[in-house]
């Protein structure tokens, strides 16, 4: 909402400065977004052309000598046909920014003649569209003084960021009313026009809205005969131009003026173009109308229209039709002042994609009491500016609305805000804002003025009192502190999320945050793409579907880095994936991808690990280690975790695994990727990744005590024994470890693989797995016989369960 200071002062009697006004506007909730003090118009001065000679080398140009009030006359080259000696106009010196042509002047040579400035046209000063010639001022204009001051261009422009709850401030009058209530001046009374009525308005209005009469709670129509429509007077044009509106003709300008000055949108029909009576009805499906913006709209029954015998003449409350619009030939005008349902207007405007000043006001709520008074005011303007004779007003469907009444205990102010405002101050503020107050403390009956549809209840009244009293008068008051030290505030999943992030970052990975929505083909590739998880209005085609996995986003991110020349990348994300559109369908997943040589030890070649396999591309085991790190960071008991060969379809089937807790709970998966996955995502390079479902882990068991179990250390030394088994190459090392460990659950405290070997020395399809078994005597030192028995058991267990043999 834009207005100028002088326009505001038309309604508000105040001595306050521009700055005070702006600060007050902001402090009462009408946030000043921008103030243009029109400083850019300051450099223009009133100047007189002393001589005007023809340009030596151009027929249409003249060389002027201009008296600018200071120093010697300056030479200006000018093309305006009206440039002549004796003319007084607006001069811009070199260095001046001319807003209408968006140019900063400099001394220039035009066809060989130097020009030291410019005599301006109205368009160049954004005063009008007139560019026929330069501005001509009367003899009385004083040379050397400010042109802006003379022409009123120094009127500061204020723009407020109006919140949608304040329809009452969609007008300059309403803003003045609110400022007056805040004590910053006096609201000037509006004149009540007394219109001399002659005859009836022959066009009748029918409301045919069936069972939805609320769509049009009132409609007033008046004919004014014998008007002369032409350009509106200068004061009106200036007003409209000052807020960026283009003057069209007097009748249209009057409706625009009423919209901004009074918040009362109106429509004018050229009566000669209206055929028969007017009907307010729902549009028929497919009905079309050529609107005033020159575009044809196809309507539906959700839209309310005003039609005559010719069809739709106007989209109610949104935009008029071209066919019955007023132009300079209009002699009889029908002025419409109506009320519309805010919700319906909003929906119609949105559906048709029309944004107008009328829609802006009707969808917020126009003061119903201005329906007739606004029409009277507009009629007066028409009579004043265009002449003519007004007929009687036809009013249909209108009932003076009953004021909303709110029971308001004055104690609510203190209860909700914590500050003391005296009862009398509260009542006075409400009165000044136009609320009628009955009864007395402690509880009032408050009637809401017709222009405040946003005020519904006690809390709204508290806001009214507070914003006028001054929000900044509320002094901070500490929130009561708890009497004891805070206990744990994070939930298990929040703690695990945090732990997973820190654990992965501590493994040299960088935390990424990638989009929750990805391309549909990518979602499908990772088991997603369900219709219920597909956005109806994605911002881009490749951001259309909620991700079923973190991996596609991470893989693409890694590739983007590779494309920038950074190929060794390790990134992770701990965030949501979406199984379905219900709250429980949102998973909490930790996922990561390593590319190139970005292993835990570090990426790239380095002298120290050249001999130790450094610079080796990442593989399934790097991903497995990351996955385990997350599980451990989250406190999952690893002894209960199983690793199964093979992961979901997007992984390399032979180089991936699934992590489970028991037969049913899938904790996650890891691996290298399927070549088809990489191809579909258009990514390449050595890549390994994992995902762990943090929400699949069970809640840790509540322990009765924080005390850890006693540490039992054996007094006997542990012994290590190595074994090597030759097994079929399909046998998993895990099976060998499991069999060895089961030989004696008490004595065998550790089993690990220290070598895996496949080679010509073994027969085809065989491999050697070498393990180290840690044997911890518990009760006594083991004898040679004990060792022999245990060793035999280990060998027997492994050979039995894997079909292997002890390597000789």
């Amino acid at each position: 909402m834009k207005f100028t200071l002088s326009w505001l002062k038309e309604h508000l009697d105040t001595d306050a400065s521009l700055n005070e006004i702006c600060e007050r506007l902001t402090s009462i909730g009408l946030e000043v977004e921008d103030v243009d003090d029109r400083a850019s118009f300051k450099p223009f001065v009133i100047a007189k052309i002393l001589t005007a000679e023809k340009h030596p080398d151009a027929d249409k140009l003249k060389v002027l000598s201009v008296d600018t009030g200071v120093g010697k006359p300056v030479q200006v080259v000018c093309g305006a046909p009206n440039a002549r000696a004796g003319l007084i106009g607006a001069f811009a010196a070199p260095g001046t920014y001319v807003p209408g042509i968006d140019v900063t002047l400099s001394v220039g040579k035009i066809r060989g003649v130097e020009s030291h400035g410019m005599m301006c046209s109205e368009r160049e000063l954004q005063m009008s569209d007139n560019h026929e010639g330069i501005i001509e001022l009367p003899e009385t204009a004083e040379v050397g003084t400010s042109f802006a001051a003379y022409a009123g261009l120094d009127d500061p422009l204020i723009e407020i960021n109006l919140t949608p709850n304040r329809p009452d401030c969609t007008s300059v009058y309403g803003i003045a009313r609110d400022l007056a209530a805040s004590g910053l001046g006096t609201l000037k009374r509006l004149d009540e026009p007394a219109i001399k009525v002659d005859g009836e308005t022959p066009v009748k209005v029918q409301l045919e809205l069936g069972d939805a009469p609320e769509l049009c709670p009132g409609f007033a129509l008046r004919l004014v005969r014998g008007v002369k429509n032409g350009p509106s007077p200068e004061w009106l044009q200036k007003r409209l131009l000052s807020i960026g509106l283009r003057p069209i003709n007097a009748l249209v300008d009057i409706t625009n003026y009423m919209t901004f000055d009074q918040g009362r949108p109106l429509h004018v029909f050229d009566a000669a173009k209206v055929s028969g009576n007017l009907t307010v009805r729902r549009a028929e499906g497919g009905e079309t109308v050529l609107a005033l913006d020159g575009r044809t709209y196809t309507l539906s029954p959700a839209n309310v229209v005003i039609s005559d015998d010719n069809g739709v003449e106007s989209i109610a409350g949104v935009m008029g039709g071209e066919a019955s619009g007023c132009d300079e030939n209009t002699t009889d005008v029908l002025i419409e002042s109506a009320l519309w349902d805010p919700l319906n207007i909003a929906k119609t405007g949105r559906a048709l994609g029309i944004i107008t000043d009328a829609r802006y006001r009707f969808e917020r709520g126009v003061d119903p009491e201005t329906m007739v008074s606004g029409l009277e005011r507009a009629t007066q303007l028409v009579l004043d500016l265009c002449g003519g004779v007004a007929a009687a007003v036809n009013v249909v469907g209108y009932q003076k609305p009953e004021a909303k009444r709110i029971a308001f205990p004055l104690s609510e102010v203190k209860r909700l805000t914590g500050i003391d405002v005296s009862d009398s101050d509260s009542i006075e503020i409400l009165n000044r804002l136009g609320f009628a107050v009955e009864g007395s403390a402690p509880e009032l009956q408050v009637s809401v003025p017709s222009w405040r549809p946003d005020v519904d209840g006690k809390a709204d009244l508290v806001e009214e009192v507070l914003r006028i009293h001054g929000v900044d008068k509320v002094a901070p008051q500490p929130l009561e502190r708890q009497a004891s030290v805070n206990s744990r505030i994070l939930t298990t999943i929040q703690i695990r999320t945090r732990q997973a992030k820190r654990a992965l970052a501590a493994r040299g990975m960088m935390e990424a945050v990638t989009w929750s929505f990805i391309a549909k083909p990518h979602a499908e590739l990772f088991g997603g793409g369900a219709e219920s998880l597909s956005l109806a209005n994605p911002i881009a085609a490749d951001m259309s579907d909620m991700r079923p996995s973190l991996l596609p986003g991470l893989l693409l991110a890694v590739q983007r880095n590779a494309d920038r020349g950074i190929g060794d990348v390790a990134i992770f994300e701990v965030s949501g994936t979406y199984d379905n559109d219900r709250p429980e369908g949102q998973r909490r997943v930790a996922g990561g991808v390593r590319r190139g040589t970005a292993t835990l030890a570090g990426a790239g070649r380095l002298w120290s690990n050249a001999a130790k396999g450094g610079g080796k591309p990442v593989d399934v085991y790097d991903a497995k280690a990351d996955a385990i790190a997350v599980l451990e960071a989250c406190g999952v008991p690893m002894s209960n975790v199983q690793f199964e060969q093979g992961g979901p379809s997007w992984y390399h089937p032979g180089r991936s695994g699934t992590i489970k807790m028991g037969p049913k709970i899938v904790l996650g998966s890891f691996g290298e990727f399927h070549p088809r996955t990489l191809e579909a995502l258009d990514v390449s390079g050595a890549l390994a990744g994992f995902e762990i479902y943090l929400d699949a882990m069970s809640e840790p068991k509540k322990k009765a005590t924080k005390t850890k179990p006693a540490l039992e250390l054996s007094p006997f030394q542990a012994v290590k024994r190595d074994f090597a088994f030759i097994v079929d190459s399909t046998v998993e090392a895990g099976a060998v470890l499991k069999a060895a460990a089961s030989a004696d659950r008490k004595l065998v405290t550790g089993v690990s693989v220290f070598d895996v070997f496949e080679g010509a020395s073994l027969s085809e399809g065989r491999k050697s797995i070498a393990i180290e078994v840690v044997i911890q005597p518990v009760e006594r030192t083991l004898t040679d016989e004990d060792f022999e028995a245990l060793t035999a058991k280990i060998i027997a267990n492994v050979t039995k369960s894997t079909g292997g043999t002890l390597r000789a």
Partner: protein
């Protein structure tokens, strides 16, 4: 020169000439071993007269002592030399680079770090952290928060919609974290003190808007919480978060459907330089929206607005991250450019706490 003198000078010369422990040992055996030259001389003492033994014995013993001492000294010297030689041999070029620690390479995203900072601050004020789903129903995202159907305020949100289901209902991507307010009130008796960080979505994209972004929201519901308390909480938060000793805030009346009265809050700052400085300067910057929970929202949460009251506030998490740490463009937050992450991210062991300060 006597015989003894000759032997001594010969032995000492031999000792001096040894180059390693083996050689010195050989000299020792040749001189002091069972059949060594000095030992043989000592054996001759038995066949001497007492007088002869007195003079000659003393001379031989003195010789033995000197030879023994010379051998130990030489041994020690050789050992020193051997160690020095070994150390020299073992010398490495310590200017060769080593691997950086993974904890030094890894990074926590600024969003996660800021959530931890906020958790530390509000944890101290007795708040818990609440979360909710990204995919919301129209009810929780709008209706329960007092956005009437079709109200222009809904349009301010540029909502992402899902396709309508068989009942014609269409879910939305939550446009704010506020749905969690109602979800919490439904499940928890007051007093409620929660902070809600999370992902939010709006159809918008430029340097300060992204279709996915993060908000953090706070909610207090009890029987006394008022605007004055709200002001205190926000001032304390801003001081703690921006790590300045004082902040000046300006509350402006504003409008949000789910609060009444509603305010926008500006913070005084210095915007004259490339980086915004808080706690000084004369500029105002809008930083958050807040207000008293609207009676209709309390009702939607199953609470009687004449008994319970409370306040809520919300702000852009990414935005306050940008203000505090100076990232210029919001879109970079979601690009996963490792150069950006490395520069603006945080080391995994730099955990924000109140006892060590939020940031290092």
């Amino acid at each position: 020169m006597s015989e003894l003198e000759t032997l001594e000078s010969t032995l000492l010369a031999e000792i001096d000439a040894t180059a390693d422990e083996a050689a010195i040992e050989a000299v020792r055996v040749a001189a002091l071993g069972k059949k060594g030259s000095v030992s043989e001389l000592l054996k001759t003492l038995g066949g001497m007269s007492p007088e002869e033994r007195q003079t000659r014995g003393a001379a031989i013993n003195a010789l033995k002592t000197r030879v023994t001492d010379a051998i130990s000294a030489r041994k020690a010297a050789l050992k020193e030399a051997a160690i020095a030689e070994r150390l020299k041999r073992e010398t490495l070029d310590v200017s060769l680079p080593v691997r950086s620690s993974p904890t030094e390479r890894g990074r926590i995203h600024p969003i996660s770090q800021i959530v931890d900072e906020i958790t530390a601050i509000f944890g101290d004020m007795g708040f818990a952290i609440a979360e909710g789903p990204d995919i919301e129903t129209d009810y929780y995202n709008f209706t329960a928060l007092n956005f009437p159907d079709g109200h222009p305020a809904r349009e301010m949100h540029d909502t992402f919609f899902f396709k309508p289901d068989e009942n014609g209902e269409r879910k939305v991507l939550r446009t704010h974290t506020s749905p969690v307010q109602v979800r919490t009130m439904e499940n928890q008796e007051p007093p409620i003190r929660i902070v809600i960080p999370g992902k939010t979505y709006r159809q918008d994209s430029d340097a300060t808007h992204s279709p996915m972004f993060h908000q953090v929201e706070g909610l207090v519901v009890d029987k006394t919480a008022n605007v004055a308390n709200l002001r205190w909480v926000l001032e304390e938060f801003c001081k703690a978060f921006f790590e300045v000793s004082s902040v000046t805030m300006r509350f402006r009346p504003s409008f949000f459907p789910f609060t009444e009265p509603s305010f926008e809050v500006d913070i005084q700052c210095d915007r004259s330089g490339p980086i915004v400085k808080f706690g000084e300067g004369r500029d105002w910057m809008e930083i958050l929206g807040c207000g008293m929970v609207h009676p209709n929202v309390l009702r939607a949460g199953g609470l009687d607005p004449d008994v319970y009251q409370g306040f809520a506030w919300g702000m852009g998490l990414d935005r306050i991250a940008m203000l505090k740490y100076g990232m210029p463009d919001l879109r970079d937050f979601f690009n996963a450019d490792v150069r950006w992450m490395s520069h603006y991210g945080f080391r995994p062991l730099d955990m924000p706490t109140l006892f060590s300060g939020l940031s290092l």
